[in-house]
């Protein structure tokens, strides 16, 4: 922390007090804008559709409509989609993290022919918007016979995520002192041994950050599965909710219940991993 003096409203001048109140007014207004729609979702799911449409933002005055939630949670399609989402997310995260840490190790601590060029080709990948790359990827997946196969979604997502993951991990690996590496080699460690038993364990914060960003990205991905998976039994949750929305589009309360259900794991995950997300996005500069 850069400031050491503690906050005291009493010791402030009138101008400072006004300024602090103004800050709170702005912050509270913006926080309302952020969480207003989220609270609306929860309130909508607990009421009937008619109640929701006549008063979008109101506490349940009649009976709480648990049926909106249980109807979804008792359906097989929901759990099939949840399972697919889980498989895709786990596979993307594990494969991306393994490949990216190996690449980042090579780009940060090894010397080899073509290092600069290969790294530039990889970072070039940051420039491909999904919508530009989706068509060529679709054709490639079709040629490989992976249409309707979860791997046909997983591998392109890994490829998309690699440049970002490698750049984050590489900057972290570069910061690790050379003396550590030299010492491990003098003690008889191989290149692979240094990577596996020294670099990986001390890089846990960076690895957690990359893993978290991967989980968020893979869990939320909509576009690739939309094109590559035709069989509803293979669909992950973002496709599941769109299908549900297509069926019950006029029953807002039910759709909002589905949205609310999907928000729960996202918010829980966020509360536990917020610091890793922040580390990943800012290269570890933001603390406190």
């Amino acid at each position: 922390m850069q400031t050491s003096e503690s906050f005291s409203f009493k010791r402030m001048s009138n101008g400072q007090r006004f300024f602090t109140l103004l800050k709170y007014a702005v912050l509270i207004f913006l926080v309302m804008m952020i969480i207003g729609p989220i609270i609306m979702v929860v309130l909508a799911g607990m009421r009937t559709n008619g109640e929701f449409q006549s008063r979008p933002f109101d506490i349940p005055r009649g009976e709480i409509q648990w049926g909106n939630f249980t109807g979804i949670l008792e359906s097989d399609t929901f759990w099939v989609a949840a399972r697919n989402s889980f498989y895709i997310t786990a596979a993307v995260t594990i494969i991306n993290l393994s490949l990216a840490s190996m690449l980042a190790f090579a780009f940060s601590r090894l010397t080899f022919f073509g290092k600069g060029i290969i790294f530039n080709i990889l970072s070039f990948g940051l420039l491909f918007p999904t919508v530009v790359a989706i068509l060529p990827i679709f054709l490639q997946i079709r040629d490989l016979g992976l249409i309707n196969n979860l791997w046909g979604v997983i591998f392109p997502m890994v490829a998309f995520g690699l440049p970002g993951s490698v750049i984050i991990l590489r900057s972290f690996f570069i910061a690790i002192p050379n003396e550590l590496e030299d010492a491990s080699y003098i003690d008889g460690c191989s290149t692979f041994g240094f990577f596996r038993f020294i670099l990986m364990p001390i890089s846990r914060p960076a690895l957690m950050a990359v893993a978290t960003l991967n989980v968020v990205g893979a869990w939320n991905e909509y576009f690739l599965p939309l094109l590559i998976l035709n069989d509803p039994n293979k669909w992950p949750l973002p496709l599941g909710i769109m299908q549900f929305q297509g069926q019950y589009g006029t029953d807002w309360a039910r759709v909002m219940a589905y949205v609310g259900i999907l928000m729960v794991p996202a918010i829980i995950f966020y509360l536990f991993t917020e610091r890793f997300i922040v580390t990943g996005l800012t290269g570890g500069e933001l603390k406190g």
Binding site: Q2, T3, V26, V31, M33, I34, G36, P37, I38, M40, S54, R55, P56, F57, I95, L99, L103, F105, A106, L110, T111, F112, I118, S123, G125, L127, F128, P129, T130, V131, V132, A133, L135, P136, I137, Q140, F155, P156, V158, A159, L162, V166, W219, Y222, F223, P238, I241, M242, V259, M263, A266, I267, L271, I277, V278, L281, T282, G283, E285, L286
Partner: protein, 319 residues
């Protein structure tokens, strides 16, 4: 490559090449174990398809039959003559401009308020303001479709109860309004991301320097404009870069929110490619438009890196 092979190669070189070269080759072999798996996946599932698709833009092709109906530059001409394509480009630039003049300053203001200092509750504010970043584009778009519903939506209900004489606005239904509504939703989801980056940048501004300026009689605006913001230069330059690229790379959120409508009024580059290229089986045309979009982002990133970002990063980091 088998161990036998490695051994044979290394023996052959031991007799013929000087020591330094030999070591370089050994190092390259070790490195390839680390580099190859990742680069093969990257190459097979992203780079190679992208390179191959550059040629599709010269054909009329539905993606199913053989690639044989060569049309030269027709697809490109067709795109620039298409009024919806023009709308899409203009809208993408609008989103970009609005992001730069509204999203980034708001994010900066919030970072200054809760990024440091001793304001009680600042961690809670940070947590809440950044929350939408973890929600999927699909969820975000569905929520806002209901929030912005013309007659029963939360936004009109709220404004109707707090602004006297307010008339319902068709946020997503009126041609002249829809792109700004799209921008509001994009801001809701993404400004927290920039706020976090600015907070990180703020950690690099020494508090002593600002205090010294205050002691010398500078007011808060002077401290901000002469010290704090200039010292955050590299972060600001990076967020401008990410924000511009982000504006052109948008797709899913806009597609689920409006589908590009009403009457194509909210098409952006991404939704245009999907609707007129992929969904309508004009894959050749889609590839041509995708190449135009890619060229815009490529020219921008190379130019921006050469002219602006190079002062912030060592030459080998090209983000």
């Amino acid at each position: 490559m088998s161990a036998m092979n490695l051994k044979a190669i290394s023996q052959a070189y031991q007799q013929s090449v000087p020591n330094r070269t030999r070591r370089t080759i050994r190092k390259t072999l070790v490195a390839s174990v680390f580099v190859l798996p990742g680069m093969v996946v990257f190459f097979v599932f992203l780079l190679l398809p992208m390179i191959e698709s550059a040629q599709f833009g010269f054909y009329k092709w539905d993606g199913l039959g053989p690639l044989e109906d060569y049309r030269g530059l027709d697809n490109y001409k067709k795109a620039f003559d298409h009024d919806v394509f023009q709308t899409a480009i203009i809208n993408s630039f609008r989103i970009m401009g609005l992001s730069l003049i509204i999203q980034l300053p708001v994010a900066m203001l919030l970072a200054l308020m809760v990024g440091r200092g001793n304001l009680p509750g600042r961690r809670v504010f940070r947590l809440l303001l950044f929350l939408p970043y973890v929600f999927s584009e699909v969820i975000t778009a569905l929520i806002w479709r209901y929030v912005m519903h013309p007659t029963d939506g939360l936004l009109n209900w709220f404004l109707g109860h707090s602004v006297p004489g307010y008339d319902n606005v068709g946020w997503l239904a009126e041609k002249d309004v829809v792109i700004y509504s799209v921008f509001i939703v994009l801001t809701w989801k993404y400004f927290g991301f920039y706020m976090i980056l600015y907070m990180a940048g703020l950690q690099g501004v020494p508090k002593d320097l600002e205090d010294a300026a205050r002691v010398d009689g500078a007011n808060i605006v002077q401290v901000l404009s002469r010290i704090t913001l200039p010292m955050m230069g590299s972060t600001v330059r990076l967020t401008v870069f990410l924000s511009v690229l982000g504006a052109f790379q948008q797709f899913v959120l806009v597609w689920v929110l409006t589908g590009g409508g009403p009457v194509n009024a909210s098409q952006i580059m991404g939704t245009y490619i999907y609707k007129f290229g992929i969904k309508s089986f004009n894959l050749g045309y889609g590839a041509a438009v995708a190449l135009i979009l890619f060229s815009i982002t490529l020219v921008f990133s190379i130019g921006y890196q050469r002219m602006i970002l190079h002062q912030d990063f060592a030459s080998d980091v090209s983000l």
